[in-house]
Each structure stands twice: as C-alpha cells, then as structure tokens.
C-alpha cells in the first residue's frame, strides 16, 4: 500500500489517486430518497473538482478558512475536499451548537466562507452575521424552505457547482494545478476542541499529521477498499473526521451517511459496516436498548438469551482472542452464535464488523466485554484532537478491557512523575490557532504533548488511563480517588444514565445519580407502576432501591481492587433532573462537568456529607412541551452498603 501511496502527501492528491485507481468503487453513499445514493470515487472527485472551481471563482484562496456546519452529507465531504484542493482550510463546526457558540470560531479564524446543511444552519449563521463581519459567503446544501431568502451572502450548493462547472470549462487544469501546489506540511484542517473548560481552541493539523497516523492504524487493521463505515458522529469531532474521512482517503473505503440522526440504527443495519467506531456512550445506549428489548421478549427468548450470554461471558472473549477453549464450550458458543449472538449482531447492524473501536472516554469493562463476548471485535484506542486520535491501539489478540493498548508504531510515550501521559508522534498538531500561549503550555520545546491524562503502563506495556490529571484526587485517608472510573462502573447498569462522584479530600465517596428514564420507565411499566415522568420516577422509593442495588454491586467490585477499595460509594441521591449540555452540566460530547455540577448543586453535596436523609431543592425545570416551571421537593438520600476490602480480608 505504501508503494502505491508514495508521493500522495495531501488529501486532494489521495482523492485524485482513488478516482484513477478505483474510480468505479463506491466512495460515499447516502441514504436519500429511499435508497443509498452512491458516488463512486470518480464521481466524488468530479464533484470536488467542480466545487473547488466554484469556490475559487467565489474567491476562496489558499490559507483562508471555510466553516462547515452540517451533519454527515456527501456534499459536506465534497466541500471539505474542495477547500483542501485549493489549499484553504476547512473548519468543521458542531452542527448542534447554538448560534452563539459559533461566533468565536468564526471570529477567531476570520472565516469568510461557510457551508451550511440546511435552513436551520443558515438561520444560525444569519443570526450571528452582524458579529462575524468576515463571513461573506454561505452555501447551503438543502434548498428546502430557502426560496424566499434574499440575503446576498446566500447561495445554493447547486449554484456553486454550476459556477464551478463554468469555471472548470474556462480553465480545465486549474484544480489539478492547485492540488499539485499543495504539500504535506500545509494545514489540512482545523478542529475546535470542545474544551471542558475555557474557550475553544482551534487545533491545527497538517495533511501529514492526519495522513500519517491514519495510514499506520489502517495497516494495523488491514483496512482496504472493500471496507464500509457509517459516518454518524459529528464531523466537527476529530474522531469522526479521522475515521470517515482521513482513513477513507488513505485506504479508499466507502463512507456511508445515514438518512437522519433518528434512522442511524436502521441505516446501520442496512449498510452493515465492516469498520466501526463509537464512543462508549453510544455503545452504552445500544446495550441499554438491547436489554430493554430483551426484557420485553418472550420467556423462551429471555431464557435463551440469559443462558447463552452466560456462555458468551465465560468463553466469548477467549474465542475471539483465539485462545484455547474446551470443545464443549466451543460447541455451546457455536449454538449460541446461531440463536443469539449472530442474530443480535445482525439486529444491531454489526454482523459484518471486522474491527470496531471505542475511544473518547474510558469504557466500562463489562460493557466492553459484552460486545466482545458476542463476537464483535471491539477494541480500545487512546488519542485526542491534538494527536490525530491514534496514540495507543489494541492490536488483535491483545485486547484488554481496562487498558488502551500499547503505543501505535511511531508514537513515543512517557509518564511524568505526576502520572501525566506525554506523547510525541507524527500525528501531533502544529499549534492552537492564534494561541501561542496555549500551544506552549501543551507542547513543550522537545515536542512532547502534555495530555493532561493520568495513567500508567501495565505489565504488558499497555497504557492504562485512569482519569484527567486534574480530576484525580485523594480521599482524606490518602486513597486514590478516580471519579470517572467509578462513574463509568455505575453507568454500565442500564438503569443509570449518568453518575457524578465526589470524594476528593473528603472522608468518603458519595454520588449523584441520573436514572435512565427509558430503562427505568420500561421497568416500571412491567411492574405496573404508574408514573408521570423522569422527576416522578426519580423520587420513587422502588427506584432508589433499584439504584442502591446497582451501587452495592459496584462497591463489591471495588472492594476487590486494593488501591481503590476505599473509594466505595457510601451515600447517594437521585437527581431530580437530567443533566444536560444546554444547562452546561455536560459538554457537547456529553461528558460530565463535575466541577460545575459540584458548584451548582453544592447544597446537595453538603447534604450528602452531612448525613442528612433528605434535602430540599427548588429548581427551574423545563417540561417536555417546552414550558418551564419551578420544581420544589425533598430529595431523598440513601446509604449504600460498603464491603470490607478483599485485600485486607486476605491479609486477615
């Protein structure tokens, strides 16, 4: 492969290469108008060519930025590649961000061009137009509802292509020349980090820093033109960009765009990707779905499911890893594969998955094992926006639930005494855009990138990440307190949607719980429990009881791990509202903002530690129909049983 790709140091060059080498293979599919509309590589290249001509005609120049605000659509990818052809820099933005959140990136990068998916995105841009004086041109993909928009900035994508077609006719070699004048070190794209704290930072990546790791990882998993991936995560996120763009450009596999966010599950089942990527949250939701639906199944199916999941838990992972397994178990597993695992993989659309990755957050080991046990080759990797994702990858046969795997070839790793992980790799970003201060903080003069993640190497040389360095704390007795680790363990239960653990510098660990309304609702319905909504459910004693059982099981697990056995959860409460990104409680990637929550619900935290059995809350709540009101009630606080640490037991 490398021979084939020699000299192809930019994405546009790779694109043109595929158009020549595998012009008839599908490049991008999109479920639209009922079928999977397909662009072959040749068609894709042609589309990009026309788009580039159009953009150039409209004045997009080398080095300038173009914002892309869209869900995964073929035209988004075309526009992105077109910009790269011209040496312009695509800046994908989160399509679900509110208008105000877009102001900073546009101002920061002095963005003059924008590609918007539809009326909704256009409206957002028009709203912030007065603040973003640089923004001159907005192209929209879907003309629906746009008929009466008369703003001079607006232009339909089709019109742009028409312009491009004319320009191309005038100067057929224009695009090829532009592509040829690009080089690997040129900036390929800029990603604004979501930023758990502070303002977003534009992470600048060159073609080389994106292509390098992509290629290495693709080789590791032997990806080729026959592979298929479903592009369903926000394009503004580097993970999505790497998997559904960079790696596709490197290997020539096919990117499939779902019809809409609601149809991802069905589309996934139709397409049956061979290469799969999902953050733990998605996998978690999926498992919750599976559990809920299995609970509705007939007695026989439930029995089969339980029996065979036991078998899978016992031997599934080992069989996937190619380890020796007794013949009887192998037979049972085969049977299970016939009636449970196979169909299950099929209904969740993962029948054909050769290799799947999860990253972005630590994944609960049980969750991780579940997928592997039913025969899906799910692996973990470690990386970040700044490192172009691939830092550590679990090679086949060396998959462990609790590590991120060894370093990818070409990547250097080391830990500071504070256990912070430092990285040096070809995939490292160039800089934070217009933010030398931040760049200096993150990247030391020797080229080491400070990840801010705490962890260590295990005995096999795999990297084990516990938490963010700044989040890792210690209990009053000095025990290591890794809140995310605890939270992840809790979240593995389908009934628990979010958990926030407190304990740094305190004598014990206490937790806020967000129940999963769907799973608990289902559970309540089966028990003929009437309820009116999340708030109602969350206050039920039965639900508290259910959650307590979950927590106690986690405590039992923790008691077996000497280093953190003392961080068992002593007390908890169930929050009266769901944590939401709109309220600032979660990040846009739906990570818990623990500090913010701790402050916002300070009263509740102190009640937990004060040993009270209930606490009064009064809060603004938004009802499902959009109205708001005040909620006032007493939240219950419950104790959970803690277990004597196993180590001390053994010692005794």
């Amino acid at each position: 492969m490398s021979g084939e790709l020699t000299g192809l140091d930019t994405f546009p060059k790779l694109l043109m290469h595929h158009a020549r080498a595998r012009g008839d293979r599908p490049a991008i599919r999109e479920k639209d108008l009922g079928i999977w509309q397909t662009w072959t590589w040749a068609q894709f290249a042609e589309q990009v060519r026309l788009c580039a001509c159009g953009l150039a005609a409209q004045g997009l120049r080398r080095g300038s930025h173009i914002a892309l605000i869209s869900d995964n659509r073929p035209r988004l990818y075309a526009a992105m590649a077109a910009a790269q052809c011209l040496g312009a820099i695509p800046v994908p933005l989160y399509q679900d961000a509110v208008a105000a959140e877009m102001v900073f990136p546009i101002q920061n990068a002095e963005i003059g061009f924008a590609f918007a998916e539809d009326q909704e995105q256009v409206d957002k841009l028009l709203e912030i137009l007065p603040q973003c004086l640089s923004l001159k041109r907005i192209y929209y993909d879907d003309p629906r509802g746009m008929r009466h928009y008369a703003q001079p900035e607006l232009m339909a994508y089709e019109k742009l292509i028409e312009l491009g077609r004319e320009a191309h006719r005038r100067d057929p070699s224009f695009v090829e020349n532009e592509i040829a004048s690009g080089a690997g070190d040129d900036t390929a794209a800029m990603f604004f980090t979501s930023g758990t704290t502070g303002v977003p930072k534009g992470v600048v990546h060159s073609h080389a820093s994106l292509i390098g790791p992509s290629l290495t990882a693709a080789r590791l998993d032997r990806l080729g033109e026959g592979d298929v991936i479903l592009a369903y995560l926000p394009p503004a996120w580097i993970g999505q960009n790497i998997f559904s763009c960079a790696q596709a450009f490197v290997t020539g596999y096919c990117i499939c765009c779902p019809e809409s966010a609601e149809t991802v599950m069905t589309d996934m089942r139709e397409i049956g990707p061979t290469y799969y990527f999902a953050p733990p949250r998605v996998l978690e939701n999926l498992l919750t779905q599976v559990s809920i639906r299995m609970e509705d199944a007939s007695r026989l199916k439930r029995w089969l499911y339980r029996r065979f999941m036991d078998v899978a838990n016992r031997v599934g992972g080992a069989i996937l890893d190619g380890k020796p397994v007794p013949a009887l178990d192998r037979g049972l597993y085969w049977l299970g594969d016939l009636v449970v695992y196979g169909p299950l993989r099929n209904v969740i659309g993962m029948s054909r998955v050769k290799v799947g990755y999860t990253a972005g957050e630590a994944i609960g080991p049980d969750l991780f094992k579940f997928y592997r046990s039913i025969g899906i080759n799910l692996k973990q990797l470690y990386g970040s926006t700044e490192t172009a994702v691939f830092v550590c990858v679990q090679p086949d046969g060396q998959v462990k639930a609790d590590t991120a795997g060894p370093a990818v070839p070409g990547v250097e790793l080391r830990f500071t005494p504070e256990r912070e992980l430092l990285i040096r790799s070809p995939g490292l970003f160039r800089e934070y855009y217009k933010n030398p201060e931040a760049t200096r903080q993150a990247k030391d003069p020797e080229g080491w990138f400070h990840t801010g993640d705490a962890g260590y190497f295990d005995q096999d040389g795999h990297v084990k990440i516990i938490d963010r360095v700044k989040d890792v704390g210690r209990l009053a007795d000095g025990t290591l307190f890794a809140p995310k680790y605890l939270e992840n363990k809790l979240k593995f239960f389908p009934y628990i949607r979010e958990a926030v653990c407190f304990g740094d510098a305190r004598d014990k660990v206490c937790a806020f719980i967000n129940i999963d309304p769907e799973a608990i609702g289902n559970w309540a319905e089966r028990r003929n429990m009437p309820y009116s909504g999340y708030t109602d459910l969350s206050a039920r004693d039965e639900v508290y009881e259910l959650v307590r059982e979950c927590i106690e099981r986690v405590n039992a697990d923790l008691s077996a791990e000497p280093e953190i056995a003392n961080s068992q959860i002593h007390r908890f409460l169930i929050l009266h509202k769901e944590l939401e990104a709109d309220d600032g409680e979660l990040t846009r990637t739906r990570k818990v903002r623990r500090g913010f929550i701790g402050e916002k619900y300070g009263e509740l935290v102190s009640a937990l530690y004060a040993g009270k059995t209930s606490v009064h809350v009064e809060a603004q709540v938004r009802y499902e129909d959009g109205r708001t009101g005040t909620y006032s009630a007493d939240l219950k606080i419950r104790d959970a049983k803690v277990f004597t640490p196993a180590a001390s037991q053994r010692a005794a």
Partner: protein, 262 residues
C-alpha cells in the same frame, strides 16, 4: 409570507352553481374564482355546503345549475375521473387512503394517471414498464422526503396514526402533480402540533410546487393564517368573499358563526 406568493390568473371559476339533493338545497347560486398559485379557503358553519362545493369542484356531485371553468374551459358534467385527468386532486375529510397498501404504494397510486404502460408490459416487467415504475418511484420519493415520512415508507397506512395518515393523503394528492389541490378539512381532528405541521406543509406545497390550493376548514384561525382569499358560505349561499382581514370584519360572517353553536 403570503405577500411573497405569486398569485396569477384565474385558473378555476365557479359561476352560479346550485346543487340540491331531493328537496335539500345544498348550494345556491354560488360564484367565486380561484387564481393560480393562491390558497383559497372556503369556510362556513356546519352544513353550510362546504363539502358539497368541494365535491362539485371535482366532479363527485353534478350541480343542477351553473358552470365551472377550469383554465377557461367549461365543464358541465365531468365526473371525478375526468376531473383527475384535468389536474384536480383532493383529500378527504375522513381519510380515504387505501388501507391495505403501504405508504409508498398509496403515493404511487396517486401517479397512476401518469403511467402509460399497459398491463401486458407490466406483467412482463419489460423495459418500459420497469423504467416507468422506477421513474415514478423517484418522483414519489421526492414527495416522501418533502413530507418527511421516510420512516413509514413501507408501512401499511392502516397502521399509521391519524395525523400521519392525513399527511400521506396529502402526499397521494400531490403525487398526481395537480394544478388545483382540493383539501377537505385537512386539519380536522388534529392536535395543535399536528395542525402546525399540516399548515407548514400546506404552505410549503403551495410555495415549493406552486400548487393552487382550495381548502375547506372548520378552524377559522388556521384558515385566516394561511389563506390568501376566503369564501364564506352559509346555508349554501355565499355570504362573503375576500382577504382574511376583510372577511373577519364582515358582519354577516360574524353573525353566521355566532348563530351556530361552536
């Protein structure tokens, strides 16, 4: 919004139409016209003759007296099939979908008029028949996309909730690419949100396809919001005709509406 709409020439005109069933006079010398691209509403209290008017317009009922002119051609005795041929499509108050068929098939049926292959070609699935089928499928998919009913494409309509059925019925009428679209209480029995959606679709249809729309509706508010011009009927007679604002202020309209229990 309606200011932006491009009302054109008169496309449909009704002159002195009278209709009676036995002794009951459903319509008495009603006259009005409909311009191209406009949304024209017919309102009135229960039993005012709205449905009869609509049924006259697409040939289900034959008026005893009066003329209907479509694009300046006069039609005295057209039946509903001919009306469809001329480009008049409609929806029904009590959804008249083909319950045993999928959404897709219902919409495809809406395009039956446009199909040219004979049944022998279809039976053999010969080139032209297959091609025709696929072409029309594409056109129908556009409508499915337009009405945002992708997820129920292959569901039998009998299984759909009421609101969606209404939308599918609109789709079926649209599939015929009508010049004039008659909507019979498109929002009857809907909740607020469904009504809002339906309004949006009606406006979008009018906007996107430029379809002339004649609609009957019970809900005054909705009618006033979306229509360009309104005809008010009461006891089979026209009592007012004009823009929503004009009609709203008309005393006889107010009386007519107050006169009935509402």
């Amino acid at each position: 919004m309606s200011a932006a709409r491009r009302a054109g020439d008169v496309i449909l005109s009704v002159q002195d139409v009278s209709l009676a069933f036995g002794g009951v006079r459903a319509l008495q010398e009603v006259s009005f016209d409909v311009c191209e691209h406009e949304i024209r509403a017919i309102i009135g209290p229960n039993g005012a003759g709205k449905s009869s008017m609509l049924n006259v317009l697409n040939g289900v009922y034959h008026p005893q007296q009066g003329k209907i002119r479509l694009r300046n051609k006069e039609f005295a005795d057209m039946d509903s099939h001919q009306a469809a041929d001329l480009g008049i499509a409609r929806t029904f108050q009590n959804i008249a979908l083909f319950k045993g068929m999928s959404v897709l098939d219902n919409l495809m049926t809406g395009r039956n008029l446009k199909m040219r292959c004979n049944f022998l070609q279809q039976a053999l699935w010969l080139g032209p028949a297959k091609r025709e089928e696929l072409e029309h499928r594409r056109a129908v998919e556009e409508i499915i996309d337009f009405l945002e009913i992708q997820h129920i494409r292959k569901t039998p309509v009998g299984r759909l909730p009421y609101g969606l059925q209404k939308r599918v019925e609109l789709g079926r009428a649209l599939a015929a690419e009508p010049a004039v679209l008659l909507l019979d209480e498109p929002m009857a029995g809907m909740n607020l949100e469904e009504k809002r959606d339906m309004c949006r679709f009606i406006l979008d249809v009018n906007d996107h396809y430029g379809t002339t729309i004649v609609l009957i509706e019970h809900d005054m508010g909705v009618v006033m919001d979306i229509s360009d011009r309104v005809v008010v009927l009461d006891y089979g007679r026209k009592i007012a005709d004009g823009s929503p604002d004009e009609v709203r202020g008309n005393q006889s309209v107010v009386d007519a509406y107050l006169g009935v229990a509402h």
